[in-house]
Each structure stands twice: as structure tokens, then as C-alpha cells.
């Protein structure tokens, strides 16, 4: 005959079940979110809400005057805004587009066993570690139309280099190229992670079936890289739409207004002392980023193939 040891109130497992049923156990993991949540609330939620509030005011630091939605038509009708939106679109789509196309190729290069692969990875990633301001000043010197190395090198082969940063038709494309140069490393790295995660068996099966490198790449690698593509697209869109430091460090939106993007236009409003208008501009940037990025994110994640 076995003795059953009787605990008052049942076994410890029963006690645990009872605590869980009362719910206090379920709350326990959530408490760990409180410190991070407080920081998130204080540094993100509160400023965002106050920005939305100040976007409805005329504010010169000393007085706050409620003007409702008046700032938003001013933003849209401002003569600087339309060209700035166009420039932002060119910059963002150009930069994101090139990174998405060159990224997988770069990732494949990193994943291959080409000689000097580690060295290559380091070189391509280094621009991301350097400050944007430093990169801006360096490229500004390199692209100087008369004294810069780029145009001097072109002159040696007899090409008369254009004013990369002084020709108003060319400058936004030059800035896009510099941004691609800077960020291609991280695109490559994300794609590298994606390529490495593809099971070897698929490639072996394809090789057995006689597929060429390009066919493997196009039919196996690319579709299975969709999660990596989603990540790169989302990150580069957000980065491009918000871009400020590179543009400001190199041209301050110049020459004239030729390379103004939304964020530099908003910054100039701050400089002019129109703080309410500038804050409304920041709310607009937030809205644009959300409207552009969220649908694309959902669209791409829905299409991800089952593994």
C-alpha cells in the first residue's frame, strides 16, 4: 500500500495551477517589459505626441499660438516643398533600388570562396562605421570640379568631368550614388545571411539537374531571399525618406535648392525660427514613412515562402 503524502491544499503542482488560474503568475513576465517600456514612452511616445501637438501651433519658442491645421497647407504650398519631395523620391527609390539589385550579387560574392573574401567584406562594410559627416566632407573634396581627384583622374584620360556637386541637374544623383556606396555593405551583409541560410541540398539538386550558376541564382537563391529583400527594402526606404546628414554635410540642399530633400527643408524652417511649421514638417515625414513602408512590409512578408 502506498502512502499518499497529503499537502494542505494539494500538491505543489496544484498550488501552481491555482496561482495561474488567478492570473498573478501570468502577469509576471510582463513586468520585465516595464523598464524598457518607460524608456520607450519617455523618449518616443511622449515626443511624438507633443510633436503632433506643436504641429498645430505657431511657435517661436516664447509664445505658442494654436492655429489648427494651418501649417499643413503652408507646407504643401511652399515653393520649396514640391521639388524637395521629388528629390526625396529620386534619392530614396534610386538608393533602395540599387541596393536591392546589387545586394544579392554582393552577398553571393561574400558567400563564395573567392580569394580575399574576408578583406573584401571588411572593405565594403567600413563606410558604414565612419560618420556620415566625415564621409560627406571627404566626398565633397574628392568631387571638387577642378581640384578633386575624381575629375583630375578623368582629365588624365581626356574626359572633362562634370560638376558632380555643382551642376543642379546632377547633384541629387551624385548624392544617391554616395549613399549607395555607403550603405551597400549592410545590404550585402543581410543578403549574405540570407544566402547562407539556404539549405545546400537545393543547390546540389539543381546541379544534378544540370542548372547553370545563373539558373540556380535566379530560381533558387532569389526567391528564397525574399525575407532578406524585405528587410533591405524596408530599411533603405526608411533611411532614404528620412535622410538628412549626408545631404546637409555635402551640399546643405544646394547649389541653390537643387538637392533639397524633405528633411533639409524642415531643418531650414527650424533655422528660420518657424518651430511650429518645422514640427508639422516632421509629423509629415513620420506619416510618409509610415504610409510608404508599412504596406510594403505587410505585402512582402505575406509573400514569404514556407520553408
Amino acid at each position: 500500500m502506498t502512502h499518499k503524502v497529503a499537502f494542505a491544499g494539494g500538491t505543489p503542482v496544484d498550488a501552481l495551477r491555482r496561482r495561474k488560474a488567478r492570473g498573478s503568475g501570468r502577469m509576471y513576465p510582463w513586468w520585465f517589459l516595464v523598464p524598457g517600456g518607460i524608456v520607450y514612452l519617455a523618449l518616443f511616445i511622449v515626443p511624438t505626441i507633443s510633436s503632433v501637438f506643436f504641429g498645430f501651433t505657431r511657435w517661436d519658442l516664447f509664445d505658442i499660438e494654436w492655429v489648427g491645421f494651418d501649417n499643413y497647407p503652408s507646407l504643401v504650398l511652399n515653393p520649396r516643398s514640391a521639388p524637395a519631395f521629388v528629390n526625396t523620391a529620386i534619392f530614396t527609390l534610386g538608393s533602395a533600388g540599387i541596393k536591392v539589385v546589387l545586394g544579392p550579387l554582393l552577398g553571393a560574392l561574400f558567400a563564395s570562396s573567392v580569394f580575399g573574401r574576408n578583406y573584401l567584406r571588411i572593405i565594403m562594410f567600413t563606410p558604414l562605421i565612419v560618420t556620415t559627416i566625415g564621409i560627406g566632407f571627404a566626398w565633397k573634396a574628392l568631387l571638387n570640379p577642378t581640384d578633386g581627384i575624381v575629375n583630375r583622374a578623368l582629365a588624365v584620360v581626356g574626359i572633362d568631368g562634370p560638376g558632380w556637386l555643382t551642376d543642379p541637374h546632377l547633384v541629387i544623383y551624385t548624392l544617391t550614388a554616395i549613399d549607395v556606396w555607403r550603405g551597400i555593405g549592410i545590404a550585402g551583409l543581410i543578403y549574405l545571411a540570407g544566402i547562407v541560410a539556404i539549405p545546400r541540398e537545393y543547390f546540389e539538386a539543381a546541379r544534378v539537374d544540370g542548372a547553370s550558376w545563373w539558373q540556380s541564382f535566379r530560381h533558387i537563391t532569389l526567391p528564397l531571399l525574399l525575407p532578406a529583400t524585405t528587410t533591405v527594402v524596408v530599411l533603405t526606404l526608411i533611411h532614404g525618406l528620412r535622410q538628412f546628414e549626408l545631404v546637409w554635410a555635402i551640399t546643405q540642399g544646394g547649389p541653390g535648392f537643387a538637392s533639397d530633400v524633405i528633411s533639409s527643408v524642415v531643418y531650414k524652417f527650424y533655422q528660420s525660427g518657424f518651430y511650429g511649421l518645422a514640427t508639422a514638417g516632421n509629423v509629415v515625414i513620420l506619416a510618409i514613412v509610415a504610409i510608404v513602408v508599412l504596406p510594403i512590409f505587410f505585402l512582402l512578408t505575406r509573400k514569404e515562402p514556407e520553408r
Partner: protein, 433 residues
């Protein structure tokens, strides 16, 4: 658990602390030592100048100590911000441009200096620029810095040219200079503020033609850029590029390149402010005697009015008004700054033109360019400050860069300047726009 000895020590320290603070409460009468804080721009010249002013003042007034704090000159917006958040020092330096007093919230944040004895030395044209209609709020800690064109006298001698008074004469000289192989006029858009010199420097000519222009312009846009002397000056800038009268690297050259071109005799003329003189003296001291000055030309041969940059001024923070000792010390310092001794110190560190105050004389031996400036001022002690109409330099600079670089015509530029002023007026809530 603290030991009895450390416990006793803690009590002793606390008692001493209380005793010291209580003795502080029964402080000596206001004639005792006073300390005031002074915020200045952080560039080398300003720091050296302020330290010299403070040292000389503390010699005369040993009971007053002035602590200097600096701010980053690339972050001018930090000054109104500090004032708005109540963290401003007792006195501070800021530009004395028209409209800056409003940026600093006028009489609500600044002490009105108009009743002080030393203020009678300040000309009314300066006082009006640092007023909000109800008081005067700043004293100059600089000499006048005229807008104009600096020229190399040896190049002019070679061309047989005299300083021009009208745009026609100017273009004749420029054409001759080009034929003789010189750069007629240097532009340095790498230092963006220089794009405004010729345009803002025409303001005195605008007012000479029409003294009510600024009032009419600000009152609902009844005046416009195109119909004033501004129109001629914008057209001249367009013509400079079209006739190839600029240096090749105008888009990227910076102001030190401009100084070099002028000092080396490669260029005939360079538009700039009076601050060219100390700048040149620092980098090309041998060339200082070769440089002359004339104001920005206009279409009127009978007079050559001078537009002036007011430079840095000292403002007093209203927050100290309740403290009689501090206010007294501040007023003594400001009186010192505008006195002859104060002017002599400015002359030693940053002499850009004649002084605003009647009472301040220039030293005997000054550079020829400064002598030229004095001769153009003549007996007139009033100054015409360069006004950034409504929209600030942030927008004016890119618009003018487009003009000088040939991306926009003079008519388009005039229209953009008018439109920009309209946008700013609406944002400021001005009536009539």
C-alpha cells in the same frame, strides 16, 4: 552602524554648514563684490576680444568679476533657445540685425537700455535696429562693417581705373580687367553668406531712392524687389556671369580663396564686408596696404550710400532685473564697452570700419581700405543696416546662389524673394499679406 566618533563628525560638519549658510544670509551690502556671467561666441577673435574687454574693465572696477561662457557660432539658434528656457547668462552677445530683437522676445526678455546715460552716444539709426518699438536693447561690441567691394589698388592703377559709382562704370572696369588678364570679380559661393553681399549691400541705395521702401514692403507687399535699386543689382549679378567676368571656381571657392586672389593681384575686385580687413591682415599682412574699398554701385552717380552690417552687440537678460547689484555692474560694463577705451580694445582685435558712436575715434594709422570706408561715410553718423526682409538668410542665400550661378534670371530671383517674404509674413502672422 556609524561609530560615535564619525557620528559626531557628521554633526559637526552639518552645524558648520548651517553656520556658513546663515552667515551668507546676512551678506554685506550691495557695494560688495559682484559677479556677472557673460555669454560670447566661441570663435578665436571674439574670445580674445571679450577677454581683453573684461580684463581692462576689471582693472578699473576691482569689485566686479565677469565670468565668460562661450557658445558655438555654427549654432546661433542656441541663443534664443537659452533665453526661452531661462538658462541665459546675465549678459550675452548676439547679432544686431534688424528683427533679431523680436527673435529674442523684445522687452519681455531683455532689459531696456534707452534710459541709461551711456546710451546717448549710440546713434538713433543703430538704436532703431535693436528696438521693438518700446525700448532699445543692445550696445555694439563691434565697429561698423560696411557691405561693399574691395579692390586691389595696384590692379586699378594698371588699368587706369577709379572706384566706380554706377553699374555702368563698374562694368567698364570689369571689361578692361578681363582684357588685361585679371579676374574682374571674385565670387566665393563655398562660403555661402557671401552670395548676399551685393544684394543686401544695395539696400542703402534702395532707401536713397525711396525711404519708405521697407515699410511699404512689410505692409502687405506694397513694394517689391524688382522695382527698386535691388532690381538693378540683381540684373548686374546676372550680367557678371553671362559676360564671363567671374573666377572659374566661383561655385566652390571659399572666402580665404577670395582673400588670396585679391592679395596676390590675380583679381581686381571682391565683394565682402568690412571684416575683410582684419581677415586679410591675419593671412596676407603684406597686401593690406594695396587694398581699397568702395560701396556697392547703383544707377545713381550723385551719391554712394553705404549699407552696414551691425555686427555683434551685447544684450542684457531681463531675469537679473530684481538684483540691483548685478544690474548696476552690468550697466557699468556696458558703459565701458561703448566708451573710447572700449573702442580702442575693439580696434586692437577686430577693426572693420568706423565706430557707431560719435565719441569713438579710429586710431591714427589704419589700413587704406578703412580710410576709404571713412571717406564714404563722410560726416553722416547715421547707418543703414542691411536688412534681411522678413525671410531670413537661410532662404535668401540659396535664392541668390541660384542667381549668381546662372540657374535663375534676375526677374525670377526678384519674384522668388518676394514670394519668400510672403511665405514668411504669413508664418509670422503679419496682417495685410
Amino acid at each position: 552602524m556609524p561609530t560615535r566618533r564619525s557620528h559626531a563628525l557628521a554633526v559637526a560638519v552639518a552645524v558648520t554648514g548651517v553656520a556658513v549658510s546663515l552667515s551668507g544670509c546676512s551678506a554685506p551690502a550691495p557695494e560688495g563684490p559682484v559677479t556677472i556671467s557673460f555669454l560670447i561666441p566661441g570663435d578665436e577673435t571674439s574670445v580674445a576680444l571679450a577677454e581683453a574687454q573684461v580684463a581692462a574693465f576689471e582693472d578699473v572696477e576691482p569689485d566686479i568679476t565677469i565670468d565668460i561662457e562661450t557658445f558655438d557660432i555654427n549654432d546661433l539658434a542656441s541663443v534664443p533657445t537659452r533665453l526661452a528656457t531661462g538658462e541665459m547668462e546675465d549678459i550675452f552677445i548676439f547679432n544686431a540685425s534688424v528683427g533679431n530683437v523680436d527673435k529674442l522676445n523684445g522687452g519681455d526678455s531683455l532689459i531696456d537700455l534707452s534710459g541709461e546715460e551711456f546710451y546717448s552716444a549710440i546713434p538713433e539709426s543703430y538704436a532703431e535696429a535693436v528696438s521693438d518699438g518700446e525700448g532699445y536693447y543692445a550696445v555694439p561690441t563691434a565697429s561698423t562693417s560696411p557691405f561693399g567691394i574691395f579692390y586691389n589698388k595696384r590692379v586699378f592703377d594698371d588699368l587706369g581705373a577709379e572706384p566706380p559709382s554706377t553699374w555702368e562704370e563698374f562694368f567698364e572696369i570689369a571689361a578692361d580687367a578681363k582684357d588685361a588678364g585679371y579676374i574682374p570679380l571674385v565670387q566665393t559661393l563655398g562660403t555661402t553668406f557671401t552670395s548676399q553681399i551685393i544684394t543686401v549691400g544695395s539696400f542703402a541705395s534702395v532707401l536713397q531712392d525711396d525711404p519708405t521702401w521697407l515699410e511699404r514692403f512689410e505692409d502687405g507687399g506694397a513694394a517689391s524687389y524688382a522695382e527698386s535699386a535691388f532690381g538693378a543689382s540683381l540684373a548686374a549679378q546676372q550680367r557678371l556671369l553671362e559676360e564671363g567676368l567671374l573666377n572659374e571656381d566661383f561655385a566652390t571657392a571659399v572666402n580665404t580663396d577670395g582673400f588670396a586672389y585679391l592679395a596676390n593681384g590675380e583679381a581686381a575686385m571682391y565683394p565682402y564686408l568690412g571684416s575683410l580687413v582684419p581677415g586679410l591682415a591675419a593671412s596676407f599682412p603684406d597686401a593690406v596696404d594695396d587694398i581699397g574699398y568702395f560701396p556697392v554701385p547703383d544707377d545713381d552717380p550723385s551719391a554712394d550710400p553705404v549699407t552696414v552690417n551691425l555686427g555683434y552687440a551685447i544684450y542684457a537678460n531681463k531675469a537679473i532685473e530684481g538684483d540691483a547689484a548685478k544690474v548696476g555692474a552690468v550697466m557699468k560694463f556696458l558703459a565701458f564697452v561703448v566708451s573710447q577705451e572700449g573702442c580702442d580694445i575693439i580696434a586692437a582685435y577686430r577693426l572693420t570700419g568706423p565706430f557707431f558712436q560719435d565719441g569713438c575715434e579710429l586710431p591714427a594709422d589704419v589700413a587704406p581700405a578703412l580710410q576709404d570706408e571713412v571717406s564714404y561715410f563722410g560726416d553722416d553718423t547715421s547707418v543703414t543696416p542691411g536688412a534681411y526682409t522678413l525671410a531670413g538668410p537661410e532662404n535668401q542665400i540659396p535664392i541668390l546662389v541660384e542667381l549668381i550661378s546662372g540657374f535663375a534670371t534676375a526677374e525670377q530671383t526678384a519674384q522668388k524673394l518676394d514670394d519668400d517674404a510672403r511665405a514668411a509674413a504669413q508664418q509670422l502672422g503679419l496682417s495685410g499679406w
